[in-house]
Assembly symmetry: C2
Homo-oligomer: 219 residues x 2
DNA sequence: GACCATAGGCGTACGGCGTACACTTGTCAA
DNA sequence: TTGACAAGTGTACGCCGTACGCCTATGGTC
């Protein structure tokens, strides 16, 4: 028979490496994400990766910029408020899909998608009439809120309406002295009842901020 | 002579380990923070640490709870707004001192200082008259903003009034296609002039949020 | 079709990490 | 003085990122 290379493996490429890297980080988390594990996932020896990325750091840079690329840019058509709102919602969604990226969005060498995103966002605010300094403030509050919310959402494990209650209860149970913390107890007991939807929660705070900003806009 | 042990080294203790660990993480950063480096700092062999902490994870838990302990609890005396404001400012300050802790405040097994902080904060909101669900929302926005701001502050390197401009310029310079991103260029050029104080920036957004919350309070 | 430069993938090896396990040494109560 | 128990040590293992040199498959040229 001598079937020639029954598995003529598709060649590696930077794009394939990045894609597999994101998939691995998504499902295994950042701690379990190693060059060696990634190589295995790709059916290749660890050092093969280094023909396509300079090192792990540069790989992470590339991964983060892909996440930035998944974020909806503020469209010039819509009014500033809904443009900002859509961008914020889309950012949180991307960060929910890629929890590993949350702490890295602004800490690495910015890629093209990052720059485009920041430029477009600042542009939308300026064109909405915010003076430079107010635009800086407005940008700062929004991004701090978005990143912080994503961080909390990931860390507190409030994923589904009532896993939130479960998580709260777990935290309360972790310490047995429940009666020492009456308000934590209230959270653990009442949160499951009132229900908790992270999207609703996110948008509640987002709208509070956007309302505040709107009242500062000239005209 | 035979001076007995000229350096009768003070015994190790959990407290000494934690203190040295925080000092090391503060000055060397989280990546350079290793059990081996910490041991060396304490003039001891790595495995000696394990007589005082279970493992690195549990050590980090302890470090984070010490950071929580440095945060001012909302006092029952003041009105809710200034109590929340002081807590927020104090949290940001603690996180600025201990940048390594930012991503870990809510991700680890909560220690006593953590629980006390959360309970007291939720309590202050409830006693201010916020209904349960609104109090949850109010808590969520504030903490998301605080943690997110601390994260940005650390990652963007906007430490001093004009290192902010320098950092912005550095980011703009990192890519040479400056004219492709006019609004980033504006930031790089104008930010040094208008000055940038992270405390002012933080409190601007904080007040925006607190004002929004105040308008929702019953009475 | 034959040849060869080059890019892609491999194997080995090194120093650093967290920490298991068995040991020696120091300390303090009896 | 003694002996038990706590504190500190030494060695070793399996991970990690990645430098370096080798082999091999690929595709352009004749």
């Amino acid at each position: 028979m001598t079937e020639q290379k029954e598995t003529t493996r598709t060649r590696l490429s930077r794009a394939r490496v990045l894609e597999a890297a994101i998939a691995l980080a998504d499902e295994a988390g950042l701690e379990a994400f190693s060059m060696r594990a990634l190589a295995q996932e790709l059916g290749v020896v660890p050092m093969a990766l280094y023909k396509h990325v300079a090192n792990k750091d540069e790989l992470l840079d590339g991964m983060v910029d892909i996440v930035f690329g998944e974020i909806e840019l503020p469209s010039g058509d819509a009014d500033w408020r809904s443009a900002m709102r859509r961008r914020a919602v889309s950012t949180r969604e991307a960060l929910t899909r890629h929890g590993w990226a949350i702490g890295m969005m602004e800490s690495r060498r910015p890629g093209p998608a990052n720059l485009r995103n920041h430029d477009a966002t600042m542009g939308a605010l300026r064109e909405a009439g915010f003076p430079f300094e107010v635009a800086i403030h407005a940008y700062s509050v929004q991004d701090a809120y978005i990143y912080g919310f994503a961080l909390q959402e990931r860390d507190l494990g409030f994923e589904t309406p009532d896993s939130a209650g479960a998580a709260a209860r777990r935290r309360a149970d972790a310490i047995d002295a429940r009666e020492e913390y009456p308000h934590l107890l209230e959270i653990a007991t009442r949160l499951p009842d009132v229900g908790y939807d992270p999207s609703v929660e996110f948008e509640w705070g987002l709208d509070l901020i956007l309302d505040g900003l709107d009242s500062l806009r000239p005209d």
